[in-house]
């Protein structure tokens, strides 16, 4: 269990983390979502005791990280930037970490095998690809068999096989009752991985809820309807107060403010022929963009037109 209480981190005049409070519960994958520069990495570093908060506090199982004995046995962390010396072999990198925790040497071989790096264990890490580096980071995180995992953008730089592998790994670890806290700036990645979402923008908490609720709350439901009696359908729908928009060239209609069963019932009542009736799953990406629109670091200034008519060029 990770608890963050009224956490603030300022760098000069910039507030990277702004009175953030949340809890990360065990047994599920909690996605930590926000645009680049929203303060995700900073929050994770504050939880891990690498940076000092300006005010507020963060606890791992009720204790500050710096008070944990053998912390790698409580918490495994993968940080965004690579944290290895390129001249040292993967094995020796993990070995010294294991030695600080009193973790036996055979566990090093075990985690190397687990992440599929056994064949390159003796190679210096400066020759590793981004994906291999990520795998080594995961191996380091799993070294102490921790109950809590904190992973900053773990799928960055991974090929599709690697992305799938991470997803399966996280799900298996969560099913095992562990606390998984994983950050991403990609909504769609979180939608298929996470059970719970914590969304931040400009260091402030924007949402803290299950993924399903997030979708329901932040997106309109829409239904695609295809009918030869488009005009009759439009007027019938208007009577019910539903919005019918987006008449496409092929005659498809988008109905919002209603559900597929309601539309089906209406059509049966009026004797209208329907060729298609498809609920549109609201785009999570849209919901996320909507939520964080005003909170990105650079976002939301419209891109200046080339040739500059705005007087700045």
């Amino acid at each position: 269990m990770i608890e963050v209480k009224d956490l603030v981190k300022k760098y000069g005049d910039t507030t990277a983390v702004d009175h953030l409070s949340f809890a990360v519960e065990p047994g599920r994958i909690t996605g930590f979502l926000g645009p680049n520069g929203a303060g995700k990495s900073t929050t994770m570093r504050l939880i891990l005791g690498l940076d000092r908060p300006t005010s507020g506090s963060a606890f791992i199982d009720g204790k500050p990280y710096r008070d944990l004995r053998d912390p790698l046995r409580y918490v495994g962390a993968l940080l965004e930037a690579r944290a290895v010396h390129g001249g040292r072999s993967a094995f020796n990198h993990l070995l010294y970490l294991a030695q600080t925790q009193g973790v036996p040497k055979r566990r090093v071989s075990e985690v190397l095998d687990l992440v599929g790096l056994t064949a390159v264990a003796g190679k210096r890490t400066k020759g590793f690809s981004l994906g291999m580096g990520q795998r080594l980071g995961i191996a380091a995180a799993l070294l102490g068999d921790p109950q809590i995992l904190i992973l900053d953008e773990p799928v960055n730089g991974l090929d599709p096989e690697g992305v799938l592998w991470i997803r399966q790994l996280l799900k298996a670890l969560a099913a095992d009752g562990r606390t998984i806290f994983v950050s991403s700036h990609l909504m769609n990645e979180m939608a298929v991985t996470a059970d719970h979402l914590i969304v931040i923008g400009r260091g402030k908490l924007q949402a803290d809820m299950p993924v399903g609720q997030f979708i329901a709350q932040f997106s309109d439901t829409a239904v695609l309807v295809r009918t030869p009696d488009a005009d009759t359908f439009r007027s019938a729908a208007a009577e019910r107060g539903w919005d019918v928009t987006g008449t496409k060239e092929d005659g498809a209609l988008i109905v919002t403010g209603s559900t597929a069963p309601q539309i089906g019932e209406l059509a049966a009542e009026r004797g209208l022929v329907l060729h298609e009736l498809t609920p549109q799953r609201a785009s999570l990406e849209d919901a996320y963009m909507e939520l964080t629109r005003e909170s990105g670091e650079f976002a939301h200034r419209p891109a200046p037109a080339l040739g500059g008519t705005d007087g700045r060029s």
Partner: protein, 279 residues
């Protein structure tokens, strides 16, 4: 590189105890770090070769040119043969120790490995203490070994000219090589921890050793003498000197004490900043 299907392995991890991590574990881990990078081997090989080569070269040249030497030069040599065996090798070899000392700390920041290190040992001062102890002892031990090896090489080379024996008047000079190098290694390690930048810290310490330590004696009067004497590496180098320069105001052991005091002061500052600063 194929990922395995099963992601869970039986944990080969013993139950965690209470209190802070054993200091012994941190020592072992720091030892693993030092011995698992090539820069350690290259620096130490450079130290050993440079020191032993100069331990032979200077006596060899002295013997070869003995007849052309002035009576004053001859008298200096007879008074302090160990100084002439050791000082050039030490002057060159110390650069390898300084570079390695800086790398031991500063390269952790350059590579980002400091984050792995601090996640594993969040009690940062203990980590710095373990690193300092392991590195100082390693360099000190190697320093003593090459000091005695260099002494015997020099003694053999001088044999046709004079007999050099170890006695109570000069044994400090030989032991001083390991003492000086160990302290210099720690001093460089601390500079690396303070500046957190390999190139900057190496530039700083090499400038101190080769340039600043000599230039400050050009400052006239008593101020110049004080600065020259209390500059940390000059003060430390006095441990291998027999007859110290006229502008050096204190004894050999006092000089070494000054070097140790500088190192301790900067170590305390580095420890304080390590705890205060974001990693």
């Amino acid at each position: 590189m194929a990922a395995r299907d099963s992601v869970l392995t039986p944990a080969a991890v013993d139950a965690a105890g209470t209190g802070h991590a054993h200091f012994g574990r941190l020592l072992l881990a720091e030892w693993t770090k030092i011995r698992s990078v090539r820069s350690t081997y290259w620096s130490l090989i450079a130290l050993v070769i440079a020191f032993l080569f100069f331990s032979w070269l200077f006596p060899y040249l002295t013997v070869a040119n003995w007849k052309q030497a002035t009576p004053e030069q001859q008298a200096n040599l007879i008074e302090d043969p160990i100084g002439s065996i050791m000082s050039s090798g030490l002057f060159v070899g110390q650069l390898a120790v300084a570079v390695l000392g800086v790398m031991v700390t500063a390269s952790e920041y350059g590579t980002g490995m400091i984050r792995s290190t601090l996640l594993a040992s969040p009690h940062r001062v203990r980590m710095l203490a373990a690193k300092s102890l392991v590195f100082t002892l390693l360099i000190g031990a190697i320093g003593e070994v090459i000091a005695f090896a260099g002494f015997y090489i020099g003694r053999l080379t001088f044999k046709s000219l004079l007999t050099v024996n170890l006695d109570s008047s000069n044994v400090r000079q030989v032991f001083g090589v390991g003492l000086y190098l160990g302290m210099l290694g720690l001093f460089a390690l601390v500079i690396g921890a303070l500046l957190r930048h390999v190139a900057g810290a190496i530039t700083g310490i090499v400038a101190l050793l080769l340039v600043i330590s000599n230039l400050i004696q050009l400052i006239p009067g008593r101020v110049g003498k004080y600065l020259y004497t209390y500059e940390p590496t000059n003060a430390g180098f006095a441990i291998i000197g027999k007859r110290l320069p006229d502008n050096f105001l204190i004894s050999s052991w006092e000089g070494y004490g000054v070097f140790a005091a500088w190192t301790a002061l900067l170590w305390a500052l580095a420890a304080y900043l390590l705890v205060r600063r974001d990693a």
